[in-house]
Amino acid sequence: MENNVSHALLFLEEEVQYICLAFMALMYVIKISLLLKKPVPPEKAELKGDRVAGAFESLLNVLKPWSMESTRKNTYFYVEFLIFHIAVVLTIGATFLIPLTPQFMTPAVTQLFMIFMGLAFLIGLRRIHRRFTVPEIRIISSPDDFFAIILMTVFFATGFVALYFWLNKMPETAWMWIFFLMTTFFLLYVPFSKISHYILYPFGRVNFGRTFGGRGVTNTKAKSSDWNPTL
């Protein structure tokens, strides 16, 4: 596939994106450094388990739906989550691949991306419905929660249609313009929204894994049999 588009669209796809990406990276660096400045609670107790192994296990928790009752008993919800987040990665990936390595976006690859975007769009609709209609979800939802899921759902839909035209050798359409304008908006908006939760995910999971791993709850490799009579 070739990306034969106007100079204006190419400017949006490349220079504008790079500037916005740099802004996003700067915001994340500030965000992460602010969190890293916070003191870590000390752990002076003799450990029953391994804190480092616990942290690694905890980070991989996202791939182990059986490890938490909340995902174990909600398999459908977990599968939705998985597809949705794979679609996020692919959609963001498409915004890089289209301008930088358009030859990679072959019909087969484009169709695969479209399948995930299409599914994620449907999942997004279901999640919007859930947020509006399930009382315990609605009561905890802020406007940012609604806006974020609606924005993502529209983004998937736009990306899907833009790629449809791309597949049909129409790389410059209004849909592609909207797709990249939305990407630009995302890069500027996400650091300030709940969508940036993936930056916080490692912190939460590592904190959890260190605490519960060290105590032998999630990682039972005891350092000493004093603390584990079953050894």
Binding site: P39, N61, S70, F81, D144, G204, V206, N207, F208, R215
Partner: protein, 449 residues
Amino acid sequence: MSEKAEKLGAEKERQWPTKTEFTPEMLAEMEKLLPSKLNRVVAASLAGCIHCGMCSDACHYSVSIPEDKTLVPAYKADKFRKWYKSRYDWMAKVFPSFVGAEPLTKELAEEMYDKLFGGCTMCRRCTVNCPMGVDYGMMVRAARSMMQQVGRVPQHLQDTVDTHYNAGNNMAVPQDEMIETIEWIEEELQDEEGCENFKIPVDKKGARYFLTLNPREPKYYPLTIQATAKVLNAAGVDFTISSRYWDLTNYALFNGNDPDAKLFSQWQVDDVKRLGCEYLLAGECGHGYRALRWELPNWVGGVPFKITSVLELFAKLILEKRIKLDKSVWDGTRFTYHDSCNIARSGGIWKEPRIVINAAANDFVEMEHHGPESFCCGGGGGALAMPEFTPRRIAAGKIKADEIRATGANVCLQSCHNCTDQLKEIIEHYHIDAKVMNLAELLSPALVL
């Protein structure tokens, strides 16, 4: 006892000034305190919630009282989070309501008080079910800590801490009364067949294990001390009980007052050093075990001795065949076991109780949720010391009551005195035909001496 009883606890007595409502001055003080409470775990937990709602099925409050959606963990935590966001969230600086940020007002603070003292036992079941790893226990304790500092704390909970501060134990058991009680229990123990030579040493220097107790034991449940001492004697365990700081409870874990938590811990550390014991041994008490085993070393900056629990010791004695048990004494009795949150989920002990139970009884049935996934009974987090929230506490125990009933057990075993009292209450309230026992009481009659 001929010697004069020693004055234990702090030199100067105090009564923490409590308030019945938040004032502007208290809110201003809380604003000053907030930055000091934001360690990396609390800050990441406040910023990290994505409102996915996965915690709603994890909490005994929201599961047992489904009609009240304000008991969903994310909602409860949001009362604190809204305030945090108003101070630290970037978007909230421009569009506060867009991200659900709210300044700390009297109304928000009162909601925090209601939900974080009266609607959460800091059991961390939502934490282990949170995809983001949000540590609700740490977060709620931080919020409680600030409210307590300014005086907005449940009176009875604060009284418990003040009593510990003033008397050295949370029920103000005088030293002479404690020693007399232990001597009486020792006599009762020696009256049991085969126990004539059993001892309950007090202040024995160089004993291997420094056994700690929950003050409810000498006050209301002396038979549990007798049962524990019987097991330890039968196994030839070298232990002692201190006449000074024998109370393993630390309710400052619940009200969030770190200086008090540290002070109570330091008394115990100094007492273990005084007697030169190798192990600080936590008796059957949920939060007491966690406070000693996992929090005390952090509060005092490390300890020169080891800390363990009687549950681990009992299991060790059984695996090393140092005690012999006759299971037939419990024939006809079905047991189930309730895992205290602070022992299993926050403490890492859930296999050991099962070693003990399976060695002493033939008929043991697990509840649907057990081990680290066990539901809180509703008595954790100091809930039993907050009578103003009693109806909600009893209602929140329904899921546990239902699970006990489903096992068909005659006896619900547990290893925590707060759980004991809560389980007894919910068993009666929900009309379940079962009694509540701890593990020492299970082992004691089955001992072959």
